[in-house]
C-alpha cells in the first residue's frame, strides 16, 4: 500500500493550516476521576511538525492526558496551551475548533453509521461541502478498501478496516494537531506496521502528532521526541534516539 496521507504539502489548499506553528504545552497538570488522582504534576510539550510520543504501561494515565487536552476530563490544576492559547477546561467542540483532532483508543467507530457518514463526522465543523468531498476523495484514494465499502455500516467491518476509517476520520477535519491514542491496540502486527508508516506520512505532511502508545520499540522508531509516563508522572524524556538507550523507559514498564 502506498502511503500518501494527507498530502498537505502538494495540496495545501485542501488541508489548510500550512506553515502555522502548532504546539501543545502541558503545564503542571493534575487530573483526577472522583477521588482517584491519575495525573500528578505532568508537564510536557508536543512539538510543532514532529511526532511526540507518550509511552507508558496500562494505567499510567496516558489516555487521561488525552482526555484532559480534549476537555473530556478537565484537569483540576495546571494549564494546557495550544500555541500559547489557554484551552484548559474548554468544551470539547471548542478544542476541536482550535484545529485539534483525535484518533481515539479502540478506534470508536459509530457502528451503525456508514463509512462515509463516519468520515463526514470527522469533518463536522467544516462547512464547505466541496472541501469535504475533496478530502473524502483523498481518504478513499489512500484507502481503496474504504472506497469499496463506503456505504457499509462501520460496525460490520474488520478491526483493520475500522482503523483505516478512524485514521481517515481523524484527518477529515484538516487538523493541525492530531492526538493518536494507542493505534496498535488490538491490531495484527501487519496492520500495526502499516499504521505506523501512515503516522509518519501524516507528520511528513506537516501535521503535529501526539502519539500515545505502549508499544515502545515501534513507537520510538518513528517518533522524534518522547516522554515516559509512570504512575501519573513523567519519569523520563528525551529524543527518540536517546530514549531507546534509556533504562528508565524499560523500568517504567517492568520496574
Amino acid at each position: 500500500m502506498r502511503i500518501s496521507l494527507p498530502i498537505r504539502k502538494s495540496k495545501a489548499h485542501i488541508w489548510g493550516w500550512i506553515d502555522t506553528m502548532s504546539s501543545i504545552k502541558i503545564e503542571n497538570v493534575f487530573t483526577a476521576y472522583d477521588k482517584a488522582d491519575v495525573l500528578m504534576d505532568v508537564s510536557l510539550e508536543v512539538f510543532s511538525g514532529k511526532i511526540t510520543c507518550l509511552l507508558g504501561s496500562n494505567g499510567a494515565g496516558k489516555s487521561t492526558l488525552i482526555r484532559s487536552i480534549l476537555g473530556l476530563t478537565p484537569p483540576r490544576y495546571g494549564r494546557i496551551l495550544v500555541d500559547d492559547k489557554d484551552i484548559t477546561g474548554t468544551a470539547t467542540h471548542k478544542v476541536v475548533a482550535e484545529g485539534i483532532a483525535c484518533i481515539p483508543e479502540g478506534r470508536k467507530m459509530f457502528p451503525k453509521l456508514t463509512v462515509t457518514e463516519n468520515l463526514r463526522l470527522g469533518a463536522f465543523q467544516v462547512t464547505d461541502e466541496s472541501l469535504i468531498r475533496e478530502r473524502l476523495d483523498t481518504v478513499f484514494t489512500t484507502f481503496p478498501r474504504l472506497a469499496e465499502r463506503r456505504d457499509q455500516l462501520a460496525g460490520t467491518m474488520s478491526g483493520g478496516e475500522q482503523a483505516m476509517v478512524s485514521i481517515g476520520r481523524g484527518l477529515m477535519g484538516g487538523p493541525r494537531i492530531l492526538l493518536i491514542d494507542e493505534p496498535s491496540l488490538g491490531l495484527s502486527p501487519l496492520y500495526v506496521k502499516e499504521n505506523f508508516k501512515i503516522i509518519e506520512g501524516i507528520r511528513d505532511s506537516g501535521i503535529t502528532v501526539f502519539l500515545v502508545e505502549q508499544n515502545v520499540r515501534q513507537t520510538l522508531a518513528i517518533a522524534d521526541y518522547g516522554y515516559v509516563l509512570s504512575g501519573g508522572r513523567v519519569v523520563a524524556q528525551g529524543t527518540a534516539d536517546a530514549l531507546k538507550e534509556d533504562e528508565e523507559v524499560y523500568a517504567a514498564y517492568f520496574g
Partner: protein
C-alpha cells in the same frame, strides 16, 4: 361488517396512528440522545394544544377569522412555544441530572408533567372543563359507498404523515440528523468529532416536543376538544408505541404508533357492544407482546438507533 363501516374504522385508525407516531417519535428521540424517559411528554403535548387554543381565542378577539390564517398561527405559536419548553426542560431538568440514577429523571419529569397538568387545570380560565376546539378545516365530504370521507380528516392525516416523513428526512439526511445519530450512538466520540453535545440535546428535545405539539393540535382539530388531562393517555400511548417499536428506533416508533391504533380499532370492531373497552384490549395485547418480545418488535441490534 359493511364496507362503509370498515372505511370509517380505517380512516379513524390511520388518524390515531399518525398522532401516536408523532408522540412516540419524541420518546424515541429523547431516549436516543440521552437514554432517558421523559414522562412529561404527554403534558407538554397538552400544553401545546392549550397554547393553540389560546392563540385561537386571541385571534378571534382581534377579529381575524380566516381559518387558514388561524391554523397557521396556531401551529407556529404552539410548536415554537412547546419546542422552547422542551429545550428548557432538557437544559434545566434533564441534563443536570444526567449523572444521577435514571430513576431520578423519570421521577422529576413525572412530577413536572403533573405540575403542568394541574397548573393548566387551576390557572387556565375554567381550566378544569374541556374546551371546544374549533373545526377550522373544511368539513366537506365525499361519499364512498356508505362511508363519508371528510376533507378535514384527509388534510390532517396528510399533514401528520408529511411531518413524520419530514422528521425522518431531518434525522437521516441532514447534517443535524447525522449529529443526532452520532450522539445517540456514542456521546463521547461525538464530542471528539467537534459536535456541540449540549446544543444537539437541546435541539433534539425541541424537535420531539414540537412534534408532540403538532399531534396535540391534530387531536384538537379532529375531536374538536382539548382538556387538561388529554396528555395522560396520549403520552402513555406514545410511550407504549415507542416501546413496542424498540425504544430508540425511529421507524419502530412510527410502526408502534400505527400498530397501537390498529389494536384499538380491532378492539372497537371486536367489541361493538362495548367499544369503551378498546383501550383495555389494546393495552392488554401490548402487555402480552412485551412478555413475548421483551426488547420490542424491532430489536435494536438489527436496526439503526434513532
Amino acid at each position: 361488517m359493511d364496507i362503509g363501516l370498515f372505511g370509517q374504522y380505517l380512516a379513524n385508525g390511520v388518524m390515531l396512528g399518525t398522532m401516536y407516531a408523532l408522540v412516540a417519535v419524541g420518546f424515541t428521540l429523547f431516549f436516543g440522545v440521552l437514554d432517558v424517559i421523559k414522562f412529561s411528554h404527554g403534558d407538554v403535548l397538552m400544553l401545546g394544544s392549550f397554547t393553540g387554543f389560546t392563540v385561537y381565542i386571541g385571534l378571534l378577539s382581534l377579529g381575524i377569522e380566516n381559518p387558514w390564517v388561524m391554523i397557521a398561527a396556531i401551529l407556529v405559536v404552539s410548536i415554537i412555544t412547546t419546542a422552547a419548553l422542551g429545550a428548557i426542560i432538557a437544559r434545566y431538568l434533564v441534563l443536570p441530572l444526567k449523572s444521577a440514577p435514571p430513576l431520578n429523571i423519570l421521577l422529576i419529569t413525572l412530577m413536572l408533567g403533573t405540575a403542568i397538568r394541574e397548573a393548566v387545570r387551576l390557572f387556565y380560565p375554567d381550566g378544569s372543563n374541556p374546551k371546544a376546539f374549533p373545526a377550522l378545516l373544511p368539513t366537506a365530504s365525499v361519499d364512498l359507498g356508505g362511508f363519508a370521507l371528510r376533507a378535514d380528516s384527509v388534510i390532517l392525516v396528510a399533514a401528520g404523515i408529511a411531518v413524520i416523513i419530514g422528521l425522518n428526512l431531518v434525522i437521516n439526511r441532514t447534517r443535524l440528523g447525522l449529529a443526532i445519530r452520532a450522539v445517540a450512538q456514542d456521546e463521547e466520540t461525538a464530542k471528539i468529532m467537534g459536535i456541540n453535545y449540549t446544543m444537539i440535546v437541546l435541539v433534539t428535545f425541541a424537535i420531539g416536543s414540537g412534534a408532540a405539539a403538532f399531534a396535540g393540535i391534530m387531536n384538537g382539530l379532529y375531536y374538536n376538544e382539548v382538556n387538561f388531562g388529554m396528555g395522560l393517555l396520549l403520552g402513555l400511548i406514545g410511550f407504549c408505541a415507542a416501546i413496542i417499536g424498540g425504544l430508540g428506533n425511529i421507524y419502530g416508533a412510527i410502526l408502534g404508533g400505527f400498530l397501537f391504533a390498529g389494536l384499538q380499532t380491532i378492539g372497537a370492531v371486536a367489541l361493538p357492544f362495548a367499544s369503551a373497552y378498546k383501550d383495555v384490549f389494546a393495552f392488554g395485547v401490548v402487555i402480552a407482546l412485551m412478555a413475548w418480545k421483551p426488547t420490542g418488535l424491532i430489536a435494536e441490534r438489527s436496526s439503526d438507533r434513532v
